[in-house]
């Protein structure tokens, strides 16, 4: 499968702060790729480098096969970018904003524009500056979907939005998903989980994992083991075990490389034979929290 986005050893320093440390990101064409990670992980920085808003300190990035540093002008007619902190022309009415954008895009679909305005329930005669944050996001998204972009990049689009608006945004996005690749950075893991096909976890400027959501869900398990007598926890547990803890005869951890046979074998080797073992599938949010906590504990 071709890549819509690919980065190689992308490094970005802001003076002495390393925002990205050799990021290698690969977003396949047609994917809905969720880039998740704690605050300050480098998600926005990575996206701004992809959009050629920032220059990288080292490494390279390609977007739709084009070096991101060459991304400007007409090349943006195939990319839709919406960011939570994007400055829109507040003095423009919604309809004027969409009318203004129209000539820039040869593929602008007027019918789709009208459909999006209806779908997002946008008030055409209101100024963008007078709209609520959620409405502004919807207006920006409408202005980024109406030309059938090949790539849609959304930077924290759900932050601070109420569930109804979130749902409307997601529905609007999904209706375009078949024709586009979507890269979305978000904290809202519950929402992302419902529609993302791929997920990448960025922490302290490094991509800890990047894979299909189904594979991730298969890989992570919440493990709870019950022993006859309280076992002694090993000083060094397998690397794939996160948040290892015990309470009396019960041992819990998160297995990040779950394989039924291999995991059972590891448990026997490290802790002995368990009387009872449960391996519960995890939500993306639980996985994210486990990863984040593990990351903090290792600092």
């Amino acid at each position: 499968m071709n890549s819509a986005i690919r980065t190689q050893n992308l490094v970005k320093n802001f003076r002495k702060v390393e925002a990205l440390r050799g990021l290698n990101l690969d977003v396949p064409e047609g994917a809905i790729y969720a880039l998740v990670g704690p605050n300050g992980a480098g998600k926005t920085t990575a996206i701004k480098i992809l959009m050629n808003i920032f220059g990288a300190t080292r490494g390279r990035a390609e977007v739709l096969g084009i070096d991101s540093t060459r991304l400007r002008g007409r090349l943006f007619s195939e990319i839709g970018y919406v960011s939570e902190n994007q400055e829109l022309p507040g003095w423009m009415r919604v309809d004027a904003f969409l009318t203004f954008l129209r000539p820039f895009y040869p593929a602008w679909d007027h019918e789709l524009e009208n459909e999006l305005v209806r779908q997002f329930d946008l008030p055409p005669d209101r100024k963008l500056g007078d709209l609520s944050r959620g409405m502004r996001m919807k207006a920006a998204l409408a202005g980024s979907l109406a030309y059938h972009p090949k790539l849609i990049v959304l930077d924290e689009p759900f932050t601070g939005l109420d569930p109804l608006v979130r749902d409307e945004l997601i529905q609007g996005l999904l209706s375009r998903a078949e024709e586009s690749t979507i890269l979305i950075s978000s904290h809202d893991l519950g929402e992302v989980e419902t529609f993302a096909s791929h997920v990448g976890y960025l922490e302290r400027g490094e991509l800890r994992f990047s894979e299909e959501l189904t594979a991730l869900a298969d890989r992570f398990r919440e493990v709870e083991l019950t022993f006859a007598t309280p076992p002694a926890l090993p000083k060094t547990a397998p690397e794939s075990w996160l948040q290892l803890s015990s309470s009396a005869a019960v041992v819990r951890f998160v297995e990040s490389s779950f394989d039924p046979e291999k995991t059972h074998q590891q448990i026997r080797n490290v802790l002995g034979e368990a009387q009872n073992a449960t391996f519960s599938p995890m939500s993306l949010r639980s996985i994210f929290l486990a990863m984040a906590k593990a990351g903090r504990n290792s600092e």
Binding site: R72, G73, Q86
Partner: protein
């Protein structure tokens, strides 16, 4: 191109209030400026240095021309808002990830300037020229040059600042810094008097035009805001470096050529009457003594007009080594035919002054000047009404209005297209004035002559008014006293110069003006050249030369 217009229209719609205000001010200017031509009297516009202000902004501070100042301000405000509406500073602007081509964006902003600054100004200028009685189409090249000046001098620097700022307030703060810099530069310029009359061109002009251009292109093409901001320091530092390190002596000797062997000097100097020790003062620096050296100028050709630019005084120290006071500006002081007294001011270390005060010193005085020779002399009788002069100006002598007699003499009031005449010299026998004199008017001596000289550069001046006003007012120049010196001293015989409006201070001196029927002599003095002349003076007793309050 289509997208350029699209962005342009977006700005035009967004900034309709700013555009409306500037157009309203333009209409007010179109209404008020012609009134100022008729209202401005010779008391406001003299035929000497003050004429330089006649078409500029300063005269507008008094009265309705304040509106004329507001017009460029309204343009600049609209331009700043247009540039900042698609801000180049920051990384959150929506348009950064839209198919904006920087060339189209820049072209849209240029189109905004052309449409809402240049085009209205051009229409205003065409209207004003026609209103003043000139054929506008004859002056298209000059008008375009004025437009270019407006862009380069007014719009370009402000536009460059707008590209590196996000709000008008931020821009005003940067302008404040700029004003502080200009104050500092003028202070520096005062410390380097030679910089006032020597040209270091083309470097300052190149710096002042190339830097904002570079900032604008860099911002639009690359949005390198920090680099662009640093670029502002290039002309700022460059101009200071040029001012401080320019080889002024070389520049002066190149610009004002010394007399060649065998060449007859156009003027000669002699020391004027000793000034005595009146006027105790001195230099702000207690280690310096301010000295005024009176000079009497004699001309090889009595018709020469001299524009005194700079002076340098060298004094031989008691041990024989020369001490050099350095070049000082003489502020383009004009010596018209008949005027022959000038003075050279310099500061000397108090220590050296004390050494020399009891002995006779040897001085060398060098004057750098531009001189003009009278040409195309003809007589002319002022007709009634408005009449054209060959120089392209349209003039009129006011009807004899007794109510206007007192306080200012009748002058020839003229309007010229784009700029004042390159060189127009007028003389008249004051007793030939046809202006009505009151019965109790005192008679003037037979040979009383009034004169006026108007001259300007070769190109149109920076102004929104393409009609230059000037007055030919017959002033009688006498070799009397400098008013400043008279005011600060009770010594009655200090030679200096004084442009007197007559032979005494009685009201009759104001009555011998130009009215219909007055015969004048007009000529067009031509520039002969720039020159410096050095003359030694032996046995000068410095204490006989007055110490002056430092000016």
């Amino acid at each position: 191109m289509k997208l350029t217009f699209h962005i342009f229209w977006k700005d035009a719609r967004h900034l309709w209030r700013e555009i409306a205000v500037s157009l309203a001010l333009l209409i007010v200017c179109a209404w008020s400026i012609p009134r100022e031509w008729t209202d401005a009297g010779p008391g406001l516009v003299a035929a000497t240095g003050l004429a330089a202000f006649s078409s500029g902004f300063l005269s507008g501070v008094f009265g309705i021309r304040l509106l004329v100042i507001l017009l460029p301000v309204s343009w600049l405000f609209a331009v700043v808002r247009a540039i900042q509406s698609d801000s180049l500073v920051g990384n959150r602007q929506f348009w950064l990830t839209r198919p904006y081509d920087w060339r189209q964006l820049l072209a849209a902003k240029c189109l905004f300037v052309l449409t809402f600054v240049n085009l209205p100004l051009l229409i205003l200028d065409l209207y004003l020229l026609a209103k003043a009685g000139f054929v506008p189409t004859h002056y298209v090249v000059g008008l375009l040059w004025m437009q270019l000046l407006i862009i380069l001098i007014l719009v370009l620097p402000i536009a460059a600042l707008a590209t590196v700022t996000t709000t008008v307030v931020q821009l005003l703060l940067s302008l404040l810094v700029l004003v502080l810099y200009l104050v500092g530069s003028s202070f520096l310029s005062e410390r380097i008097p030679a910089s006032k009359f020597t040209s270091t061109e083309p470097f300052p002009t190149i710096l002042l035009i190339a830097t904002p251009l570079a900032m604008i292109v860099l911002q639009y093409a690359r949005r390198r805001t920090m680099l662009s901001r640093w670029l502002i320091l290039v002309p700022a530092a460059g101009l200071v470096l040029i001012a401080v390190f320019a080889p002024y002596r070389t520049l002066i000797s190149r610009q004002y050529a010394a007399l060649q062997p065998g060449e007859q000097p156009p003027i000669q100097m002699a020391l004027g009457k000793n000034l005595g020790t009146w006027g105790i003062g001195g230099h702000p620096d207690p280690k310096q003594v301010g000295i005024l050296l009176p000079l009497v100028i004699s001309r090889a050709d009595p018709g020469l007009i001299l524009v005194m630019e700079g002076s340098q005084v060298e004094v031989d120290e008691p041990n024989g080594s020369p001490w050099d006071a350095g070049w000082r500006s003489m502020n383009s002081m004009q010596l018209l035919p008949g005027q022959n007294i000038t003075s050279v001011q310099f500061a000397m270390p108090t220590g050296l002054y004390q050494q020399l005060r009891d002995s006779d010193a040897r001085l060398r005085v060098t004057l750098a000047f531009t001189y003009f020779r009278d040409a195309s002399r003809r007589t002319f009788v002022v007709p009634a009404g408005t009449f054209p002069l060959p120089e392209g100006a349209r003039c009129s002598a006011p009807a004899d209005d007794p109510a206007r007699m007192y306080g200012r003499p009748h002058a020839l009031m003229c309007l010229a297209p784009l700029r004042r005449p390159a060189s127009l010299y007028m003389t008249m026998k004051l007793n030939d004035s046809t202006c009505a004199l009151p019965e109790n008017a005192e008679p003037l001596p037979d040979d009383s002559t009034g004169s006026a000289w108007v001259h300007s550069g070769e190109s149109a001046e920076l102004s929104i008014d393409p009609v230059a006003q000037f007055a030919l007012m017959p002033l009688m120049y006498s070799n009397l006293y400098h008013p400043h010196e008279l005011a600060s001293s009770d010594h009655p015989h200090v030679p200096g110069w004084h442009a007197s409006l007559g032979v005494n201070n009685s009201t009759s001196q104001y009555l011998h003006g130009i009215c219909p029927g007055t015969p004048l002599t007009l000529s067009n003095p031509q520039k002969v050249g720039d020159m410096q002349i050095t003359q030694p003076f032996e046995n000068v007793h410095l204490p006989d030369i007055s110490k002056l309050p430092w000016r």
